[in-house]
Symmetry: C2
Subunit: 153 residues, 2 copies
């Protein structure tokens, strides 16, 4: 139940691309790496994955760089996380709806399904545009505005 460095980096880089979308020129990998303090060569691999998933595009050579394949308000955080981490909330590497529970754990399936649904309700609502503007959907800001949400446990 943790977020990998890769996913974190991917979202941060994508946020930079979202912010640069108005510039009308591609953003170099090096600039992204510096802006978000991400190891350049590692970032390049991540951007390549995002490209393969149709989230970003790229051009090589001088004046080359990366840009978002779609408007920033049409790209969700969920999409980016899935692109680099794979499916969300799998149990033992299989989707919760495919697992058969027996005996007294029969209803555990519904719990894992609910876990996945609640993750989706956050990650699928936040777009890159929300992220750079700071105007997060109410689902998110409500959750994050509780004092309790900020304390470790």
């Amino acid at each position: 139940m943790r977020v990998s460095a890769k996913a974190d980096y991917a979202v941060r880089a994508a946020a930079e691309l979202a912010a640069a979308q108005s510039e009308e020129a591609p953003v170099k990998g090096e600039r992204l790496a510096e802006a978000q303090d991400i190891p350049l060569q590692f970032l390049e691999h991540i951007l390549l994955e995002l490209k393969h998933h149709g989230i970003v595009r790229a051009r090589r050579g001088a004046k080359g760089g990366y840009w978002l394949a779609r408007p920033a308000d049409e790209v969700t955080v969920a999409e980016i996380v899935r692109a680099v981490e794979g499916p969300i909330a799998h149990v033992q590497s299989t989707p919760p709806e495919d697992i058969e529970y027996r005996g007294n754990s029969k209803h555990l399936q519904e719990v894992w399904i609910a876990v996945r649904a609640s993750l989706r309700s956050v990650l699928e609502q936040v777009t890159l545009a929300d992220l750079v503007s700071g105007e997060l959907p109410s689902v998110v800001s409500d959750l994050a505005s509780s004092k309790d949400a900020w304390v470790a446990r």
Copy 2:
């Protein structure tokens, strides 16, 4: 963003213990392993961790076995997951409230905080008693009752 085999096993074993709580006699590891189809020796390690976290108790020898340290309605799934997997929703192995984001990813922190909060809102609500009775809290059953929650994505 996945649930490990260990966490899944731990909750399932704990559910069996919860159901056996009325029996007034300890449950042997072997019976738990068979009931939930978990490799016995692996399960023993898991139960040991749960014991160290004060969730279960155990006695050795003939007539020995495991039992819950507290009533089943006072043990949440969140507690069990934390016992075997560590803190929920850490980013790069550090809690989201400790990370400093800069530039266009400044608001990503709130997103990860919201992710953690939404996970907590599910996992901290479900007790072992809920799990064996099948009467899950409304937060959970509402999420799990949506058709959409059951489809892969």
